[in-house]
């Protein structure tokens, strides 16, 4: 099988779906000739033209709202939001409009659109270009949220997102665009709500999203040298969430750490941890730990930024404590 970058994988998914369905189009800033600042969309405008790869002014609420309208009336827009941080600008159109229209119309209207955007710190981009805001979106009923952890997932999840009849937000980790992974030539889709067990283990479950899957895998390697076998699970979509796979894993291992790059408080890690507590409590030998980004705006200085996100060493250290029964209650 060939290896392609996450960026190429997204590009292929978009091209395939746009060939398949003439009602799809891409709309966003510098998506056409420039192919976005990360060059993810390069080549698409050459194939599909500027009618279907539409460069907009810097007017996020405007083009997001237009995507909602187009989706309600028969098109399948793919909104390109240059940085995940700009979600705050489109919140009304996304959360008050797109998310609720199907419900409010008693199921009569659909809003089949995709917002593809990104997340992730440690790029020295400071507080307004480094956030991981998936929890904010996941909080709103009516929105689905996908978090690809490699090129393979990025392609399969994007194709599913485009065919889904709901608004879907996909967060790509901007540090992973050049990461390669095996991706088959033949067409495939990855269904939403199916977690992927990346590595099997019996001692502790490491449940991780997006780039944190790599962090968890590295931690698992460190741990296996010490005789601790960690199971690494990637939920792939956080809405819908494959609770069943997560709970089964925890029933087997009886310990878990949940890792996500969003802020730790009120975040994705909190939600998953409390579901495990509610549904697997009597199987647990230790409290489920959350590891998210520190609850601070992302600092610019490399000396500070690097300590705000979970690392393999940090995950391994916490896993060791959980497995040795060390009391790690904060208070």
């Amino acid at each position: 099988m060939r290896n392609i970058t996450l960026s190429q994988a997204v590009n292929e998914a978009l091209a395939e779906e746009m060939r398949r369905d003439p009602t799809t189009f891409i709309i966003g800033e510098d998506v056409a000739e420039a192919g976005t600042p990360f060059k993810v969309l390069s080549g698409l405008v050459e194939e599909f033209g500027t009618d279907r790869v539409i460069d907009t002014p810097i007017a996020e609420p405007g083009f997001m709202g237009m995507a909602v309208g187009a989706a309600m009336t028969g098109a399948r827009p793919i909104v390109d939001l240059m940085f995940g941080d700009f979600i705050f600008l489109i919140m009304d159109q996304l959360c008050n409009q797109a998310a609720k229209i199907h419900y409010m119309s008693g199921g009569k209207l659909n809003v089949p659109l995709v917002v593809r955007t990104n997340m992730g710190a440690t790029r020295r981009s400071a507080a307004q270009h480094s956030q991981s805001l998936q929890a904010l979106v996941a909080h709103i009923p009516g929105l689905k949220v996908a978090m690809p952890s490699s090129a393979y997932e990025a392609k399969g999840l994007m194709k599913t997102a485009i065919r889904d009849n709901n608004p879907v937000v996909i967060f790509e980790d901007k540090l992973m665009y050049q990461d390669k992974a095996p991706v088959q030539e033949e067409e495939y889709l990855i269904p939403f709500g199916e977690a992927n067990v990346k590595r099997e283990g019996k001692d502790i479950s490491l449940i991780a999203t997006s780039s944190m899957v790599q962090v968890a895998e590295k931690a698992a390697e460190i741990l296996s040298k010490e005789g601790i076998e960690a199971e690494v699970i990637d939920p792939r979509t956080i809405v819908p969430l494959d609770e069943k796979t997560l709970i089964e894993s925890v029933k087997k291992t009886s310990r878990a750490i949940v890792i996500d790059e969003g802020h730790q408080s009120y975040g994705v890690t909190s939600e998953i941890a409390s579901r495990l507590n509610e549904k697997a409590f009597y199987h647990l030998d230790a409290p489920v730990l959350r590891m998210g980004a520190m609850d601070v705006p992302v600092p610019f200085s490399p000396a500070l930024e690097d300590i705000t996100v979970p690392t393999p060493e940090g995950v391994a250290e916490n896993a060791r404590k959980l497995c040795s029964g060390e009391l790690i209650h904060a208070a």
């Binding site: 510098d30 000739e33 460069d55 270009h129 601070v296 200085s301 000396a303 500070l304």
Partner: protein, 325 residues
């Protein structure tokens, strides 16, 4: 600083400030190219007459809001090289203790409320600052810098409406450098830019942003009128950025020709033009100007060396300043 710029000293300071901005940017670009700077940064080179012409008409009490392309505004408003380079390198002695970096430099002591990485993100802030000035009976004026691309943001129209309704002392300064990222302005802005402000009854001006004296003269008038309660105003300044959108945007011929860049650099450069005028008017000799340039270059070199050697903030600072005491 707000006195009429009719004497030699004022002219020379305007020249000096423009050269300081250019020199700062050349050094910042060099830091990027030699991989010493974390992240990316947006160069102000080419647009110096805009920031200097405007800020030389302001006092330290007057406020500005700046943009992602903010080093020029920061220098023009009175900032020091040392603290700026420290900030660009994420060092503790930077204006924001390394927490902000290039896109968030703020300099409270000179009334710079900060650069902003959200395009259009400071329009509310600038207008709110003007609201406070009027409400508390102060006489300071706020200048809101933003690019042509930022005119696409709806926020501008919400706040211009209120500023006009309530006669707020704010000047909207649109730096039209012909591009927003990799897209030409005419592809993203329908109709006239100044007409957008005029629709709210705001007096709007379109001027040559490469002519520091023209910019300064107009701004002085508008600032004086703002202080008398006649604001708000809108200025569109035609200018040009010499570098790419950011320092990493090097192969850019697919959206902007080399000939166009050459034309602006050779025929409309604000520093060359003003230097010629200073010499012609007998305000400074070539030798004096060269000496000034050399001194600024030396300042910058020293500040860079200082910043490179300066220390990073202690890791214990990471959760300081999330909340105010």
């Amino acid at each position: 600083m707000a006195k009429a710029k009719t004497n030699t000293e004022d002219y020379l300071r305007m020249y000096r400030q423009m050269v300081r901005i250019r020199t700062f940017e050349d050094n910042a670009n060099q830091l990027y190219l030699s991989a010493k700077m974390p992240g990316l940064t947006h160069m102000y080179s080419g647009e110096e007459a805009v920031a200097v012409g405007i800020c030389e008409a302001l006092t330290d009490d007057d406020r500005i809001t700046s943009t992602h392309r903010g080093h020029g505004h920061c220098v023009a408003k009175g900032a020091e090289f040392k603290e700026m380079f420290c900030e660009l390198l994420g060092k503790e002695e930077g204006y924001c203790r390394g927490k902000g970096g290039s896109m968030h430099i703020a300099d409270q002591s000179h009334g710079n409320l900060g650069a902003n990485a959200i395009v259009g993100g400071s329009m509310g802030i600038a207008t709110g600052s003007a609201l406070r000035s009027k409400m508390l009976g102060h006489d300071d004026v706020t200048v809101c810098f933003f690019g042509d691309g930022a005119t696409a943001q709806g926020l501008l129209y919400e706040v211009m409406n209120m500023a006009a309704l309530w006669n707020l002392p704010v000047i909207y300064a649109c730096e039209n450098n012909g591009y927003s990222e990799y897209t030409k302005t005419e592809e993203i802005a329908a109709g006239s830019i100044t007409a957008r402000a005029e629709a709210f009854g705001i007096e709007a001006f379109k001027i040559d942003g490469q002519d520091v004296l023209a910019v300064n003269e107009l701004t002085q008038k508008l600032v004086a009128r703002c202080r008398k309660g006649e604001g708000p105003f809108f200025i569109e300044l035609e200018t040009y950025r010499y570098h790419g959108h950011h320092v990493g945007d090097i192969n850019r011929e697919y959206y902007r020709s080399k000939d166009e860049e050459k034309d602006w650099k050779e025929n409309r450069d604000p520093i060359i033009r003003f230097r010629g005028w200073l010499v012609e008017q007998g305000i400074a000799s070539e030798e004096e100007i060269e000496a000034m340039n050399a001194e600024i270059e030396k300042d910058a070199t020293e500040a860079v060396a200082y910043a490179e050697a300066a220390k990073y903030p202690d890791v214990s600072e990471v959760d300081m300043h999330v909340y105010a005491d």
